[in-house]
């Protein structure tokens, strides 16, 4: 397993994305595994902690799994304006 440019940048920012979105590591792994990821849960944990480098392809799969999970988070409810209240109600 060899490093590639931007490897740490990708890992760190994937970690930040996971943390900010409040995603569980188990959920991330399950999605990554579903996307044909090859690493097990502990290896993924080691990757997040910078203890185990992933190939660019595997790193991209992790990033993609995280992004899919983030996209699935429902948007926050928005405050309605005085106009169009009745239309906004379900």
């Amino acid at each position: 397993m060899t490093g590639f440019p931007g490897q740490d940048h990708q890992r760190v920012h994937t970690c930040i994305a996971v943390r900010v979105a409040g995603l569980g590591h188990k959920d991330v792994w399950a999605r990554y595994f579903g996307l044909t990821g090859a690493a097990d849960e502990y290896e993924l944990d080691a990757y997040f902690h910078g203890l185990m480098p992933f190939t660019a392809a595997e790193g991209d799969l992790v990033a993609h799994a995280v992004n899919e999970l983030i996209d699935e988070i429902p948007p926050l409810p928005r405050a309605p304006y005085s106009t169009g209240i009745t239309r906004a109600l379900p």
């Binding site: 399950a30 990821g37 899919e68």
Partner: protein, 257 residues
Amino acid sequence: MKSIPPHDELPLIFGRSRGFLLSEQTAHEAVDALAAVARNLTGHAYGAGVSLIDQGRCTSVGATDPEVLEVDTLQYALGDGPCLSAWFTNSIVRVTDTHADPRWRPWAEAAAAIGVRSCLSVPLQKGGTAIGAMKLYAHTPQAFTRNDELLLLGLTKSAAALLGHIQTTDTPQRISDAVKISLGTRDAISVARGILMERYDLDGRAALERLIALSRETGTSIAVLAAELYSRPDRQHPDGHAVQDRHDEDRRRGASS
């Protein structure tokens, strides 16, 4: 880590699921032992046990005697009793004499008939929520002291810590559901990768990169893309590469004629 998903991951996952089941058994055994400790340390108690209450379903674990099970089952059948009350009110319930206690009369009378005269029930708490109760039964009235209460309180903390991990009885089911879904998408994506590899003469890695790129462009999840890719009757690629398909079709026709 290997670059190709190894099949030997499956025993690992299923082994992990089995681990959860084993830990449930281990927790029950530990609670059995705690109930026995509770009974033995309070000299006046003849039996001890733990009731678990989850979504209205009551189960007894760690019952030291068949009589404990009988008195517990009475409570569950009647829908009322000291342990259900301890759980419901999340507070200690003391029954000093089943002959005299005005509460839960049907249960108290039936318990007295079996020979149970007093009862001490302490709620099991998990994160401030009661998940059941641990109780002691005695054949004599006013059998339990303040010290017995403190002892039982201490033991319920350990019991709750053990049982709290398995209280959600659907945990193993949920895990295997997640694994099932993951395996399903893995399968679909593998097929889709194969289609892309054959169609565009790519290696496995490039095919996956293509899927990721397509997913990013279209804002569609890879699983959905993969499902579309192999279920489309016209085999038209979602990115509009139907032309390539026609070439493939022509090539096949040419080869067969």
